[in-house]
Symmetry: C2
Subunit: 339 residues, 2 copies
DNA sequence: CTGAAAGCGCTTACAG
DNA sequence: CTGAAAGCGCTTACAG
């Protein structure tokens, strides 16, 4: 029962031509007008659907791209994937998706799997593992790129990295114009590289920067705000992830630490999801991972469409941040400008 | 440069055997021990990676599954996808992903595309469009299932549908035990089928149910709570989507409509994302779309592994809800039990 | 156990 | 413009 598929041979027979002519007619190569119409209508009547797998074997290209995620869940991944799948689709590529769910071993296995699938290109999102299969991709001239971040054996891959430095610059410029000279950043303990971008721009603008570490799991906004309120030398602006920024905003209102009158707040928004729990007008640094996807597709398609498969994917930095000012940031209070 | 891939022919040559023997050795079919080792080591040395596309052409199966989404973004989609890709992967299948981004035409095109790819099975999430290509899938004996919901031309597909009725039953039972007899449901205007499930179980338990419609975009929690507070015949429990439930909780506190003393609240949680804006202990009906994915994979694999490809995918209903009680639900107040 | 051969469905030089 | 033929890389009856 399986494979009741109509084949090119069937079409050719019905049209009374050779398979070669049928193939040419269907792909728009020069054939006599009469033959063309006969073939196309035969294909139509029979419900012919070309076998892409067979075509892939004959041609070298499979017209597929593989993307392997470290973790798929989480809003960043979804947005990226959405951009990738839509973009590649427009260029005729189908996308294989795989996820390692945090396991290095799985990650390497999945990369190898796509080698077997003969994908035309490979995208490694937040790559981890030994990258043993990468050499084979190189040997076969298959372009491979890392997305977002890379590590371990994937270190040598060209990286298409996200950046928010432009948006941070906008934000800092604006805060400075508002008279702020002391900025506090709330960050979960260990890695939170974004702080570094702020540090750089702040120092360039002559703005003091202070770190506040906290436990992501049990952030006590009330306590934080209380400590802040009793600190006469406190920053006049606080930057935090959106959830924490909201909590701080609410807590600040309750201890009458007016926002933005006495304290300005900037949120970093990780995702596109509607955030309806609050009507609070928070100024925000908005991240759009889809921009990384769009850029990745552009770079990929450019390389793939070249005859000379230099296979040289160029690394890139994608500005995925944007600065949106709302009412949670205002002029710096005069009171504690001189601490 | 492209396709510097080592082929089975190369391996056979180096091992000094025929390609047939090489093939058999690699797939563990009976060959002499000496030959087996020679072939495997030859393959190892050459870095042989089997060409899955060629294998697919020869065998009938491509060991691929296609999933087309109506919309990929949004937490439901991600969780479902994660479950699908992990599950199928374990059974050796690779997953093609596509998204129509809300367009019916695109949806149909993408389904057709997967026909060309000769996927072994097709999953249609929230299918829309004329479903013109479905007949071809049928003819080819390729199993196709709809996930979550179906419409238009996809109506006749077996549906793997999510349900929360078990969790709702748990919730209602509990509320009844707490003495509640009047329940209010907040729902965005048009479609919000979930309400029906509540209606059914409420009526079975002899609980009165009242609908409140609202505008999702500009829900005024303060106004809602104010109206509620001044209504002596108000429900003693309110069910709402999580965002709105939180807003109501907060608003209720401000007008001293104590939760759960005077009003119990139940939230419906659509996704897995950490929801840190609130420390509020809200009782919740939790949705896990990944369960739908897991079930889909089970059903699919069962059919695919059958010799007699009956291609008969069975429809199923997946309980994806769970009832989690916290402190926002308590005993019904005595005051307005007799309205 | 092993090899030569056929064939999966297509495309494309190669001759007419 | 057209057809017969080769070949993409594999697997599997079919004979030895």
């Amino acid at each position: 029962v399986k494979d009741a598929h109509v084949t090119l041979h069937d079409v050719a027979a019905r049209a009374g031509v050779s398979v070669a002519t049928a193939s040419r007619a269907l792909s728009g190569i020069g054939v006599r007008q009469t033959n063309r119409t006969r073939v196309t209508s035969a294909a139509e009547e029979l419900g012919y659907v070309p076998n892409e797998a067979a075509r892939a074997l004959r041609n070298v290209r499979t017209m597929t791209v593989g993307v392997v995620f470290n973790k798929l869940t989480g809003p960043l991944g979804t947005e990226l994937l959405d951009a990738l799948v839509s973009g590649l689709d427009q260029h005729g590529y189908s996308l294989f998706v795989a996820t390692a769910q945090g396991s290095k071993e799985r990650y390497d296995e999945l990369v190898h799997r796509f080698l077997e699938r003969r994908v035309d290109a490979l995208l490694c999102v937040n790559a981890i593992g030994d990258g043993a299969a990468l050499a084979r991709f190189m040997a076969a001239g298959v372009p491979v790129a890392a997305l977002f971040s890379k590590s371990d054996g994937y270190e040598k891959l060209p990286l298409i990295a996200p950046s928010i430095s432009d948006a941070v610059a906008d934000c800092i410029d604006r805060l400075k114009a508002l008279g702020h000279s002391h900025l506090g950043i709330l960050r979960p303990n260990p890695r939170f590289r974004r702080v570094e971008v702020f540090r750089r721009w702040a120092s360039e603008s002559g703005i003091r920067l202070r770190d506040y570490e906290y436990d992501e799991e049990i952030f006590d906004a009330g306590g934080f705000v209380a400590r802040l309120a009793s600190d006469t030398g406190r920053p006049t602006v606080i930057v935090a992830a959106e959830a924490e920024a909201i909590a701080i905003f609410e807590a600040a209102q309750q201890v009458s630490l007016g926002v933005p009158k006495l304290l300005s707040i900037v949120a970093i928004r990780d995702h596109e999801l509607r955030m309806p729990m609050t009507k609070l007008p928070i100024s925000v640094l908005h991240l759009s991972p889809s921009k990384v996807g769009v850029t990745a597709v552009e770079i990929l398609v450019r390389v793939l469409s070249q005859e000379d498969s230099t296979s040289a994917l160029s690394p890139a930095t994608v500005q995925m941040g944007s600065w949106i000012e709302r009412a949670s940031t205002g002029p710096a209070p005069l009171t504690n400008s001189a601490d």
